[in-house]
Subunit: 352 residues, 2 copies
């Protein structure tokens, strides 16, 4: 079988980390006899520089004709003064919308070897932290009507029931394969969209009697993540709340440099990218950690291609590499030997 | 001079904690020869039970004719199934809007005696944490157009320039009396309202050349509060971001039971309330900590009445009481003697 993958390296450290991820995937192809076919396309700042557009038509076309997309990161100070629609981030939003990637899955896991970098006290995260945040990604205030008129501006948070249903199903299904607990986060004491959200999630919950459901207001969720993150299994929430809470959660793990993400549409189509950004300050220096991107590849094998043991194989290779003590600069403690992006990639490839 | 104060005890622990705050205020009146006049009015769940309305017309009238309002807390499970407009929280929102309380000031301070309850590692909060969050309180998605139509719902985040200007001025003025640093939080890479916000804050900043200004996206701010809260002095942000970030920040201090807040309008009019909620689970048991409400009184003396030394006097009495080791249940460590709400009030009154 042939797997068609669109590759968007993007800006900053994007190219370096994606190169390592592709090396890993090629190795997987050899080992398991899969045919991964890569097509590189442009998006973000580099696309602006080379074509004048943050998301060239060809990029969208190639992504649509692929089975999955790998994305490094987009954006950087160079393009920060451009107007809203022309910025690199806009390409990311357009990709999500055009590819109908409505379901963003962000594991917030504390890696044991990074326990020390967790900002919370040890007693709070004792025994580890393992949350999956399921964020609605193509609705809400990101894509609702918006305009500025003189001294007035407006952004509409809009939701239709079917948008809430499909993301809720996703969350409950994921919970079924885990600890069977979904926490739905909204602001139902203030927002109409949240009241529709809560009602719809409760309806969907009836299809999953084995999964426990509770609701939290978003302000309370932001607090609970700090004082008692272990209460969570799967968190499902709308686009902007998901943006805020998933970043807070990933930071709380202390492992943000290692965290992957998947953005899924229908029929298992998906875009895979690290949680961290383009880190322009260290771009091109071989300092970036490719692990979050490599683990994104592992998510791709599982979610889009259904290759569970291949996915596990990458995860195990990463775990082994880490427990053997190999460290890029971001995760090294004082005195530990630091290796480069490429060296990290090579070592992971070797342990596959 | 006579100071007219409307008193809304509200629900849950509201009545108990407000009673102690009033005791403190009466003592202040005696000591400094001020005439504080109190008028008790209903709002929230208790108002629903007694009058059928969460915010009776009389309450609004009395508040408007007063110089300041003291509020305990509103809400509880008893009224949670009521429709949006009839809920206790709606009374709070209506009070904010009707009294034009556009500027919500929430100190997030780590109390030295509560250092141990801070969820962050000691090295992150070493030397203390002292942030003021200035939240816009009468605009944005809380009060924009909203509706549900069948399977579709919509909430509009709306801002006009003058709304941003007045809250920005407030933030810069507060920063001038502190460490001269304002962090403005928005989501300007996605929202039109945020772009208007950022532009306006930058314009207002020109009037305060002695204050440093920086901008953060809300998702990044949620992360920075966890990993490096000491970078902040004054944070200014729109209504919903302020809701989320101020709760996160207050939880991070570990001192949420002690934190007061002020909601200010024009001409120093203000409503004062503790950050914590109505805590229905411990209501009527004498377990509640009145300190956050008593410190809210201290904010009232400062912000509305301009009585700086009276305000300091309350703050010092609270500090002395705490350093003498008096503890309500919420702040007691294992083995420490626990006193009641009323006892805590009495001790603070005595040390005034
Ligand atoms: C870059 C930005 C538009 C984006 C978002 O807000 O969704 C990012 O923060 C993310 O979470 O992927
Ligand atoms: C009760 C609720 C409507 C309110 C808000 O969201 O503003 C509360 O969370 C607060 O922060 O005062």
């Amino acid at each position: 079988m042939k797997y068609k993958i669109a590759v968007i390296k993007g800006d900053g450290i994007g190219p370096e980390i994606v190169d390592e991820a592709i090396k890993v995937l090629k190795k997987m192809g050899e080992k398991y006899n899969h045919n991964f076919e890569f097509t590189e396309v442009l998006a973000g700042g580099i696309a602006i520089d080379k074509t004048g557009k943050n998301l060239p038509e060809e990029t969208l076309q190639v992504c649509k004709e692929s089975d999955a997309v790998i994305l490094g990161a987009v954006g950087g100070p160079k393009w920060d003064s451009l107007p809203g629609n022309e910025r690199p981030e806009k390409a990311l939003l357009a990709l999500r919308k055009e590819l109908n990637l409505y379901s963003n899955i962000r594991p917030a896991v504390m890696f044991d070897i990074l326990k020390d970098t967790c900002p919370l006290k040890p007693e709070i995260v004792e025994g580890g932290m393992d949350i999956v945040i399921v964020r609605e990604l193509t609705g809400g205030i990101y894509f609702g009507k918006k305009f500025t008129e003189g001294n007035y501006a407006c952004d509409c948070m809009e939701y239709s029931k079917y948008e809430i249903e499909r993301i809720a199903h996703q969350a409950f299904k994921i919970a079924q394969s885990r600890n069977k607990h979904v926490t739905s986060v909204d602001k139902a004491n203030v927002l109409e969209t949240s009241r529709l959200w809560r009602k719809t999630v409760e309806e969907v919950a009836k299809d999953y009697p084995d999964v426990k459901l509770n609701h939290l207001y978003v302000d309370n969720a932001a607090m609970q993540l700090v004082v008692n993150p272990k209460q969570f299994d799967v968190i499902v929430t709308e686009n902007m709340f998901g943006d805020i809470l998933s970043d807070e959660a990933s930071m709380i793990t202390g492992s943000i440099g290692l965290l992957p993400s998947a953005s899924l549409g229908d029929n298992n189509f998906g875009m895979y990218e690290p949680i961290h950004g383009s880190a322009p300050d260290i771009a091109g220096q071989g300092k970036a950690n490719p692990i979050a991107t490599i683990l994104s590849i592992s998510m791709m094998l599982k979610y889009t291609f259904g290759l569970q043991s291949e996915s596990d194989c990458i995860e195990n290779a990463v775990k082994k590499t880490l427990s053997d003590g190999h460290r890029t600069a971001d995760i090294a403690r004082k005195g530990e030997k630091i290796i480069t992006t490429v060296e990290m990639g090579n070592i992971i490839v070797e342990s596959i």
